[in-house]
């Protein structure tokens, strides 16, 4: 991050490099979003007969959407 950022650089979390909040929000949300989507698809598979074999591309869509959001956020910043 640039030196002029209004946010003070926080101490890094052990095991994970840290950027300032604005730059990493979408990126940090990406994993949990994918995890939630995976859970929903598997639950639909087990409970509703909506087979995971058919619905797995939703994971790619979520991943792609996150990437786009990340890109737009960085450009805005």
């Amino acid at each position: 991050m640039s030196a002029g950022s209004p946010f003070p650089t926080p101490p890094p979390l052990p095991g994970s490099p840290v950027l300032t909040p604005r730059g990493t929000l979408i990126r940090a949300l990406r994993g949990p979003l994918l995890l939630t989507t995976l859970g929903v698809l598997l639950a639909a598979d087990h409970l509703g007969g909506l087979s995971f074999e058919r619905t797995w591309p939703a994971l790619l869509i979520v991943f792609g959407a996150c990437k786009i959001a990340e890109h737009m956020e960085v450009r805005q910043a």
């Binding site: 101490p11 087990h46 409970l47």
Partner: protein, 481 residues
């Protein structure tokens, strides 16, 4: 300082709760629930993580580079692997070919297209009717006619009419055979795995027919049939009324098995939730894990029930047994009877002939009828209450290793107290009555003539709750609640 995620402690609490429930209610089978609902663990994890990150962001705290770290993803894959394997092993899986598809769940894509089914075949008076494996519901009714008639509908779930028509043509409904053996075939296997075809059949058969039905998922309702009945299904609710022959059910996962007025021997194997048997004239043999409400009423011949944690044998049941989770209530049964259970509170009243009760954890209340027969009851941990009629003849030995003894019967019973427990003895020239608890109180008292039964007779109207609806189980459950 590192802010740990809430998920790990919550997972620990969840695991603790799971094991606690497992210990308190050993009869509750957790694995089937786990096999089905484990993906919600991932949803919970993801949502918690989302919440945490949004909270950290709004409070201007530093965010981790990745919301879910590499190690956590490895753990997710491990969970998926075990969850999927468990799901497949319990027979729920749709990942494995032809594993079966749950009906009535999420149906977001496509539409249902219905096609009528009608077929007819003349038969003898007592043909064997074979229904080959299918998904859907079947209601089979016996009558006086010498013909097998099928009516109903086939439902195809498809994105468009043309696809549904193709699936319909690919799965012709067939009824074949001669007068003695008639085969009903839905040919659902002929369409691809993703197209869902279900059949709802109303089948009328001669009263003397024998039935051999195979199902993948759906309900069977059988009424007024005199021949033997065999049902073999992966997932099914089964409702039987007025059957004359032997009945054998093998249902891997049943939400309800209900039978009324069955004359022949009845055998049930499998796993499931509720069992409700009433007016059974033959022997009843049940082998499997049933976690819901298990109820028997008016059995004329011996009952033998073997569950994972509970085993019951008795000779006759003019009264009622009710076995909701963690309890065993019985009234009016005829021995020699034996009950062995890991963890239930046991109440047995109005029984004749010998009785043997063995409980690992749980209280025991016994109220034998006159004349008192040989009685043997012991629990490792729990109180025992014995209510004897005032003029009963018995030879009592009641002991506890840790706990109090109280004699509310009076008369000839003496208490010998030891360091932590004691023994109660009393003889009036009758059969041996031995009761023992390792840890718990023992009370012997007089039974009052007007005490209410431990398991009062069911006042529910059987006809009203059973066969009115074609898709019976869901309606029934609502009614029962």
């Amino acid at each position: 300082m590192r802010r740990g995620s809430l998920f790990a402690p919550l997972l620990l609490i969840g695991l603790g709760a799971l094991f606690l429930v497992r210990n308190v209610y050993p009869d509750l089978q957790i694995l089937p629930y786990l096999a089905k609902y484990w993906p919600f663990l991932l949803i919970l994890w993801g949502v918690l993580r989302l919440g945490e990150i949004v909270f950290w962001a709004t409070t201007n705290r530093p965010l981790p580079m990745r919301g879910v770290s590499g190690g956590e993803w490895a753990f997710v894959i491990l969970i998926c692997f075990f969850g999927g394997a468990l799901n497949a092993a319990m027979g729920f899986s749709t990942w494995l070919p032809r594993g079966g598809i749950e009906l009535g769940g999420l149906e977001m894509f496509g539409e249902s297209y219905d096609y009528p089914i009608t077929a007819e075949k003349p038969s003898g008076k007592s043909p064997l009717i074979v229904i080959e494996s299918f998904r859907g519901n079947a209601r089979i009714t016996g009558g006086d006619q010498a013909v097998v008639k099928v009516s109903g509908r086939k439902t195809v779930r498809s994105m468009d009419q043309a696809g549904a028509d193709r699936a319909n043509e690919a799965t012709p409904f067939e009824i074949s055979g001669d007068g003695n053996r008639i085969v009903i075939r839905t040919n659902q296997d002929r369409v691809s795995f993703h197209q869902r075809v279900t059949d709802e059949m109303e089948i009328s058969v001669p009263k003397g027919a024998s039935i051999e039905a195979h199902g993948r998922s759906g309900d069977f309702t059988l009424e007024s049939i005199d021949g033997p009945v065999t049902i073999d299904a992966d997932r099914a609710g089964v409702h039987l009324e007025n059957l004359g022959g032997e009945t054998r059910l093998d249902v891997r996962s049943s939400d309800v098995v209900r039978a009324l007025n069955v004359k022949g021997n009845f055998e049930l194997r499998g796993n499931g939730s509720d069992i409700d048997l009433e007016n059974m004239d033959g022997t009843v043999t049940i082998n499997g894990g049933y976690t819901g409400n298990v109820e028997f009423q008016n059995l004329s011949k011996p009952l033998h029930f073997v569950g994972p944690q509970t085993e019951v044998t008795l000779q006759k049941l003019p009264g009622l047994i009710r076995m909701p989770l963690g309890t065993f209530n019985a009234s009016n049964l005829v021995g020699p009877a034996r009950l062995e259970t890991r963890s239930r509170d046991v109440q047995i009243g109005e029984f004749t002939n010998s009785m043997e009760v063995s409980v690992e954890r749980g209280d025991i209340q016994l109220r034998p009828s006159l004349p008192v027969a040989k009685l043997d009851a012991h629990t490792r941990s729990g109180n025992i209450t014995l209510a004897l009629p005032a003029d009963a003849k018995f030879d009592l030995t009641a002991s506890t290793n840790h706990g109090q003894l109280s004699n509310e019967f009076g008369g000839s019973i003496r208490i010998e107290e030891s360091a932590r427990g004691g023994t109660m003895r009393g003889a009036s020239g009758g059969p041996a009555v031995d009761i023992h608890t390792d840890r718990g109180e023992i009370t012997v008292r007089q039974a009052m003539p007007d005490e209410p039964p431990f398991a009062p007779r069911s006042v529910r109207e059987f006809k009203g709750r059973t066969f009115k609806q074609f898709k019976a189980p869901k309606q029934l459950k609502q009614f029962d609640q």
